[in-house]
Subunit: 293 residues, 2 copies
């Protein structure tokens, strides 16, 4: 593997490796206002939620790598202690990107980027009407992480009020990833759209004690056919079938009697997994283990 | 819009709204070790990078919403001050999910989830061999955000050494999003895969001062045809063509002379944008503006 020692590499190159490795990053579309009332809008992808009680969101407005200067958003939150964090959807991507241009401090990015300002209820900065989620926040603390170019400034925000468009909710009132259609930031000029084909489900209850990979017979665990993702579905079962239970299944018994080898049985298990019949896949694999001896 | 006041809603419901609205979230696959040497591996999606100089990564190990208890990872970093943060790819998704099961503290999640421990160089916890990026870190600070269930505990990590698989690099040595194939966390049981069709590019230089939406003629800005993303590509131009320049283009002049209306001209502009001919699209739109009067 390539070894990157942060003390031995230019900050701009380290920065790019971090941007490429830590992703997809959610985007805080931060609406602030200067003390004298000029609105500002800028996207930040060093951002996430960190707590739900209290509800804490944190983003970082970094010192620029090239010239160690700071940004309007940082000055505004230092002056006013208020910010509205708006979610960013695919439909907003290019307009949002216009807000990353470093216009002068007296320029209103709502006008430049064609977004509609909407008054907030608890803070002065505007919400972005085109965004489906607005989070009105007070800034609890600003934590500088360093003094050089590339240093972050943690802006620790407590959410006072959240607005969610009904259009992104499921009938039962939860946020639907396909309807909200969020985008995340990757390295360089890349973004990822978190809807449609890109979305997948992994259901894993934290209190269902899967037997684990260490409970799988060695010939199954080191399957020449099945991937780690496939084997993990077997390992997630809270109990494996015994060999007797497996062979009591007529379809399993028949597959074994065909003597087509272990790889063939693993192929059959793959098909069963594709059909979400995890129990049958487990029986095939347990039955295959003796064949492998 | 639905209004959610954090002081007026159950924490578990607020938690779900935050998880659905702030995403896709990168995943820290955190490898730690207890003081007496038991390895632990757990995924955390309240995570991001926040600074490149110094290189700071932060994740939160939250107090459980249901019963206000804390997790093994938190105790381990409190005891030892060390963690390896591993990137999570699509191929690792279901194995990773096994590590979210709340096994007893003496259980080794590497064995349960079938991951291969790899010795680190600067810290004691193992790296995850199946992951393409390992970040060896010391914990600089642990910041509790509250005392109730759902409260975060910020684990502020400084990266000592980064390992990157050569298999995820472009020929020029940058991380390729399609090769690294990262996944991000959404709400409920949803994840997003950040490769393939989901990846798109938005190139926007911060020092190229786009004319902005406010420079577009009203009939263009309020186009009945073009989307915000499409108009943003015109607004990103550093200069708009004049009407004379637009009509000097024979194809534009011909389109105008056909008198098929403003919407038709905007449709032609859309086609030009799809072919990445932003200059021609701009000429069509500028020429269309007078037609609209």
């Amino acid at each position: 593997m390539l070894k990157v020692d942060p003390t031995q590499i230019a900050t701009k190159d380290l920065h790019q490796f971090i941007l490429g490795a830590v992703g997809p990053r959610p985007i805080a579309f931060a609406s602030t206002m200067s003390a004298d009332g000029v609105p500002n809008l800028a996207p930040y992808s060093f951002f996430n939620a960190f707590s739900s009680n209290p509800p804490i969101l944190i983003f970082s407005s970094n010192r620029r790598v090239e010239n160690n200067t700071t940004k309007d958003t940082l000055r505004n939150v230092q002056e006013t202690g208020e910010v509205v964090i708006n979610a960013v959807t695919y439909a907003m991507a290019r307009q949002m990107a216009l807000c990353s241009i470093e216009y002068d401090a007296n320029i209103n990015e709502f006008e430049k980027a064609g977004f509609t300002p909407l008054p907030s209820e608890r803070v002065r900065p505007f919400r972005v009407a085109e965004s489906p989620v607005h989070m009105e926040c007070v800034v609890e603390n600003i934590l500088p992480l360093g003094e050089k170019g590339g240093a972050g400034n943690l802006i620790i925000c407590r959410m006072l009020l959240m607005h969610i468009s009904e259009g992104v909710l499921t009938p039962s009132g939860r946020i639907d990833p396909h309807k909200i259609d969020l985008i995340g930031r990757l390295g360089r000029f890349y973004y990822a759209r978190a809807s449609g084909e890109a979305v997948f489900e992994v259901v894993q209850k934290v209190d269902e004690y899967g037997v684990g990979f260490d409970a799988l017979p060695p010939s199954v665990r080191h399957s020449p056919v099945l991937t780690g993702n496939e084997l993990a579905r077997i390992a997630a079962l809270t109990r494996l079938p015994s060999r007797e239970e497996a062979l009591a299944d007529p379809a399993v018994a028949e597959a074994i009697q065909q003597h087509q080898g272990v790889a063939h049985l693993h192929q059959l298990a793959r098909v069963a997994l594709q059909q979400n019949d995890v129990e049958y896949a487990a029986k095939l694999l347990i039955a295959s283990a003796e064949e492998a001896l």
